[in-house]
């Protein structure tokens, strides 16, 4: 029973990280309609900004975390303005945008590697991240509690923005049809810019949280993005709430799946699940 509780806790923690990635990815995909690989590099931007500010400059951790999150958001917004806006104006295909995003991913990853090396780093600070709590026979560290709590807060905040604000309605409208949104007077390019800022800030936050839990590397974002995308497909691509459900489902299945086998099988289970969904329910748990 204890192992079941532990796997459930691990699944929820992994799922909440995937949920944040899926949220950010779905925000970007839902408005721009292409697979933004550059998003994964912003995860590392958040982690390394906090590493630089807190460990190398010596800024207080809360300020470093705040700046790290905003920095990832600004990076995402600048990429949008400098790369995606001109390409979209030229009616670039989704394939061209994908290749451009691959270029962005490579550049950001390389720049981080140049400044900080490709070595594994850890984030730490006054937060007693390793303090362990016992829940129904399972164990969870303080940073993992913070990950769960942060995910829940971000999810609720986005749900409120989506459901109740005019901004949220505009995002949903653009997700349906950018052209009609323009015709009814929605400033689509600015809204998409803000959406990318929010999505990128979430990516940065993911990088920071994961950095405190397991550490940071320049390539850390790619595997997280893949899991976020798998979660999105399982939940229903473009469906923000579906992505969250898909992420929790993925996190739990991944962890229950390794009950009697090596943890190395985690990725195989995740992508096996993806193939099953693509084959039997390509629209995901929830339709868009």
């Amino acid at each position: 029973m204890d192992i079941f509780i532990q796997l459930t806790l691990n699944g929820l923690i992994a799922g909440s990280i995937y949920a944040l990635v899926a949220l950010g990815f779905n925000l970007s995909y839902g408005t721009m309609r292409f697979f933004d690989l550059g998003y994964s590099a912003l995860i590392a931007v958040g982690g390394y900004t906090v590493f630089f500010l807190s460990r190398q400059i010596g800024l207080p951790l809360p300020i470093s975390i705040l700046i790290g999150t905003i920095m990832a958001g600004i990076a995402g917004y600048i990429i949008y303005l400098l790369v995606y806006v001109p390409l979209r104006k030229r009616k670039a295909s989704n394939m061209a945008l994908l290749v451009a995003s691959l270029g962005i991913f490579t550049v950001i990853q390389a720049v981080i590697g140049i400044f900080f090396s490709s070595q594994f780093r850890t984030l730490s600070g006054p937060v007693d991240a390793e303090r362990i709590f016992h829940v129904f026979g399972g164990s969870i560290t303080r940073i993992q509690v913070i990950i769960l709590g942060t995910s829940i807060v971000v999810m609720f905040a986005l749900a409120i923005i989506f459901r109740f604000t005019t901004f949220g309605k505009s995002i949903r409208a653009i997700g349906d049809s950018e052209e009609v949104s323009k015709i009814v007077g929605i400033n689509t390019s600015r809204i998409i810019g803000y959406v990318l800022f929010i999505g990128s800030a979430i990516a940065g936050l993911v990088g920071i949280l994961v950095g405190f839990d397991t550490g940071i590397t320049p390539t850390m974002g790619f595997s997280l993005l893949l899991k976020g995308v798998v979660a999105s497909i399982i939940g229903g691509v473009g469906n923000v709430y579906g992505g969250v459900v898909g992420a929790l489902f993925l996190g739990l299945i991944e962890n229950y799946g390794i009950w009697h086998i090596s943890t190395e099988w985690k990725d195989a289970i995740a992508f096996g699940l993806l193939i099953l969904f693509l084959y039997f329910r390509p629209q995901g748990i929830f339709r868009k």
């Binding site: 923005i161 109740f164 604000t165 005019t166 901004f167 309605k169 505009s170 949903r172 409208a173 997700g175 349906d176 049809s177 052209e179 009609v180 949104s181 323009k182 015709i183 009814v184 007077g185 929605i186 400033n187 689509t188 390019s189 600015r190 809204i191 803000y194 868009k288």
Partner: protein, 243 residues
């Protein structure tokens, strides 16, 4: 006075001129009907005037300002709105949200924190009641019938509070009671001194509703003028109305 003019407008699709050196004017406060056989370029013309597709040659003059390009995002600023031949709604949203989304704060940053206020809901209520859709306000638009979808798209255009309304076949596929609702809306716009452009195949509706008619054939202007004159024109009868 003309509110929208197309001057020497040309649009080419795969080497074929869908709109061919066309010059027309849409007069302020009038209901103008655009008719013509299928493929005559009516919808292409409206798509150009509303920025949905670019044009190769010519210019569009809106309220005396010449535009070499019309972008979809700009048409709201020009006071133009439209509906589509194949209804285009925001499918993920409820009926009410399809209206509320256009009754919004245009400043993006304040929209981030803005919630729809009571006056927005009241406005949406009045508009939806006008098309008998208030009862369906919480339904997802996917659950609406074809006619109801068409009415909701028209209601969304009304919510835009524009000066110029392009309606692309607004009566197609509607039951008589729904047609009456649309007729009332168009008359109401006329009373408010708005400019309405109708693409329509029903000649009796055109005759009854329109102040002016533009007849297109093969991307060119065949005739224009008052319905009673244009619909008697031998060229129009030969090209479009038959015997």
């Amino acid at each position: 006075m003309s509110q929208v003019r197309a001057k020497d407008l040309t649009k080419i699709f795969n080497g074929i001129k869908a709109v061919d050196d066309l010059t027309i004017e849409i007069r302020d406060g009038n209901i103008t009907g655009i008719i013509g056989p299928n493929g005559s370029g009516k919808t292409t013309l409206v798509n150009i005037l509303t920025g949905v597709i670019p044009f190769e040659k010519g210019s569009v003059i809106v309220s005396e300002t010449k535009r070499e390009k019309v972008k979809p995002f700009n048409i709201h600023a020009y006071g133009i709105t439209r509906t589509f031949q194949a209804v285009r709604l925001f499918e993920q949203m409820s009926v009410l949200d399809n209206i509320l989304v256009v009754l919004t704060e245009r400043n993006v940053f304040s929209a981030l924190f803005e919630r729809h206020k009571i006056h927005h809901i009241s406005e949406a209520e009045a508009i939806l009641k006008g098309v008998n859709l208030w009862e369906k306000k919480d339904d997802n638009v996917e659950r609406l019938s074809y006619g109801q979808r068409k009415l909701l798209e028209i209601a969304r255009a009304i919510a835009m509070k524009s000066e110029i309304y392009f309606f692309d076949e607004p009566f197609a596929g509607l039951f008589p009671e729904m047609r009456k609702i649309v007729i009332d809306i168009i008359y109401d716009l006329k009373i408010q001194d708005k400019t309405v452009v109708l693409i329509e195949h029903d000649i009796e509706l055109i005759r009854g509703l329109c102040d002016r008619v533009i007849v297109m054939n093969a991307g060119t202007l065949l005739a224009e003028g008052k319905p009673e004159d244009v619909l008697k024109d031998k060229r129009v009868i030969a090209a479009y109305l038959g015997d």
